[in-house]
Amino acid sequence: MTGLAPNRTEKLSRLILGLIPIFVLIAILDALVWLITSDTYTAYLHPRFWLFLLIGTVILAGFIAALMLGRLAPPDGSTGEILSRAIVMLMPLLFLYTAFGQGMGGHALSKKFVGNELELPYVFTDDPPPEEGDESGTDKQLTLLQINQQMATLQGKRVSTEGFVYADANMPADQLMLFRFAMFCCAADTTPIWLFVKKEGLGTFEPESWVRAAGVLEIASLNGKTVPVIMADTLTQIPPPPPGAQYLYF
């Protein structure tokens, strides 16, 4: 007996297996469209990447159309191999869903922070007194990155900035660290940008709470490294921005 025609069940199963790669591509395409249209991609990528994501979306649409114009035959491999490959391809979407609304915080800081010493004793070698600030009386609203980049010219001027709080038991009671992550391409290459805030009667802030600090910017020496310090007169906890707005960008 030779070459019996496949029965209906077998035809249906071959059709479903043939459609699986298309479903996978459609799922990835949907995710990309959502990331672009909702601006959620900025929680993972530099904003300039929108064009690359758009190009990827167009190419994916082309792939889907081309596969649908083909014979829709199942990919090579057993049913288990085909299904497991499809699930693997969809795993990033599972993590995208579970990480939605979350941003990088203190744990990421502990892994990305690079200091000159293994342990940083939080003692300043000089502790300048507060000085008169900007003559206009208004605080310059700046990002942590701007302050780090321009600290020499900003020294002695009033500034205001925002960031996450990091404080540990080794820090003096009147000091905390403000930090944010600066990105060049994606969240994997972020570098923490930070400064210290000093204020009498600092109070207690929950780790990773978002605060706005305003005061006079000074430069201190910390184990041979110059660090900006805001001698704050106001320190206010405010609602954090959404994850996509928490990064700074090179």
Binding site: L45, A66, R71, S84, R85, P92, A108, K111, K112, A188
Partner: protein, 357 residues
């Protein structure tokens, strides 16, 4: 050897014979890896979702995947067009007569054809199938992601427009790519380097069928060729994409577990500093446009040769790339290529340190 009709979705509508490389009755190794990966990732989501490290892991994993995805798609598409539109004869005419000159040309091709390491793997796969010599393909694979204007600019930017650092990186990347390409050409052939099932006769596509020869009598319309290009590209992407996902996940886990600051502290001597930065490059799996910014954070604590080791090795060899290489090369060749690349980068950075500091 198991044979079954190989269904192909190309518009020529020809069925093709496929020869499975797995003896019948055995479970393919890749299938086991896929199952383990699914179990591990679902387990993490179910049991560790509330752990602070999970955010770092998830965000890093998704970020690496999303960043690489457009380039992977583009690389697959370029590969698809090469499959359908470029015959082996055309490629052979374009290349210089000797394989040595081809190696020198391929290592610098990124200057005119800038690609990142994610896009380059599917492109090189197709070029191998069209007859590109092995050494030249390796030189392009290693040199392409470094020897390109985008990387030069981002490196200069990261180092405050010190163009000497950028030029250093490009030149070192080029010389290493050429050297490794020549070594590969001397000691390996396509037969013992390329993965089983990857045809190396220079005139076939990944299904083992020569479209150009078969369709000599009845040419396909331009539209059908475009559709065929996209179909090949889609299948390529689905094939290689899972290696990208494995690599991105492992890189995310390592970034979640390993602290950069602790690794910097280990680097007490220049030799250790170079080694440590090379390991960090393999672990972090960053793109070649961004890694200069990470290297630059070590400016005040590590010698330039250690920073350069990070910037040169990373685009050539990282977790993500090593896993993608499994789709292209045999295991023994991957080990040899990885080992040679690692050793040569290390030695060249030692020489750099001794000569320049």
């Amino acid at each position: 050897m198991d044979t079954k009709p190989f269904p192909i979705n190309c518009s020529c509508n020809h069925g093709h014979q496929h020869h499975s490389t797995v003896p019948s009755g055995q479970i393919p190794f890749l299938f086991i890896i896929q199952i383990l990966f699914i179990v591990a990732t679902v387990g993490l989501v179910v049991f560790y979702r509330q752990h602070p490290a999970f955010s770092t892991l998830s965000i890093t994993f998704v970020a690496i995947f999303l960043e690489a995805l457009p380039f992977m798609l583009l690389g697959s598409l370029i590969g698809g067009f090469i499959e359908v539109f470029v015959s082996a004869e055309k490629l052979t005419k374009f290349l210089p007569g000797t394989s040595w000159r081809t190696i020198f040309m391929a290592a610098g091709a990124g200057l005119f054809f800038p690609v990142c390491e994610c896009a380059i793997v599917p492109v090189v796969r197709c070029l191998f199938q069209k007859g590109l010599p092995l050494g030249a393909g390796i030189a392009f694979l290693l040199g392409g992601p470094i020897v390109n204007p985008l990387v030069a600019f981002s490196t200069a930017l990261a180092y405050g427009y010190q163009w000497a650092v950028a030029i250093d990186r490009i030149v070192l990347g080029y010389l290493l790519a050429v050297t490794i390409g020549i070594l590969v050409e001397l000691f390996f052939t396509k037969q013992n380097a390329l993965a089983a099932g990857l045809p190396d006769n220079g005139s076939t596509c990944a299904c083992g069928h020569d479209h150009h020869a078969e369709h000599g009598e009845h040419k396909r319309s331009f539209f059908k060729k475009i559709v065929a290009s996209f179909q090949h590209a889609a299948e390529d992407f689905l094939d290689i994409g899972r290696y990208l996902i494995f690599g991105a996940f492992i890189a995310a886990v390592l970034q979640t577990v390993i602290a950069r600051g602790e690794m910097a502290a280990v680097a007490a001597t220049p030799v250790l500093a170079i080694l440590m930065m090379m390991l960090l490059a393999v672990v972090l799996s960053l793109c070649s446009e961004a890694d200069a910014f990470i290297a630059a954070t070590f400016r005040t604590s590590l010698p330039l040769s250690a920073q350069m080791a990070f910037m040169v090795l990373g685009p050539m060899l990282d977790i993500k790339l090593i896993l993608m290489y499994f789709q292209l090369f045999r295991k023994r060749f991957i080990i040899a290529l990885s080992g040679t690349t690692f050793v040569l980068v290390f030695l060249s950075m030692l020489i750099k340190y001794w000569s320049q500091g």
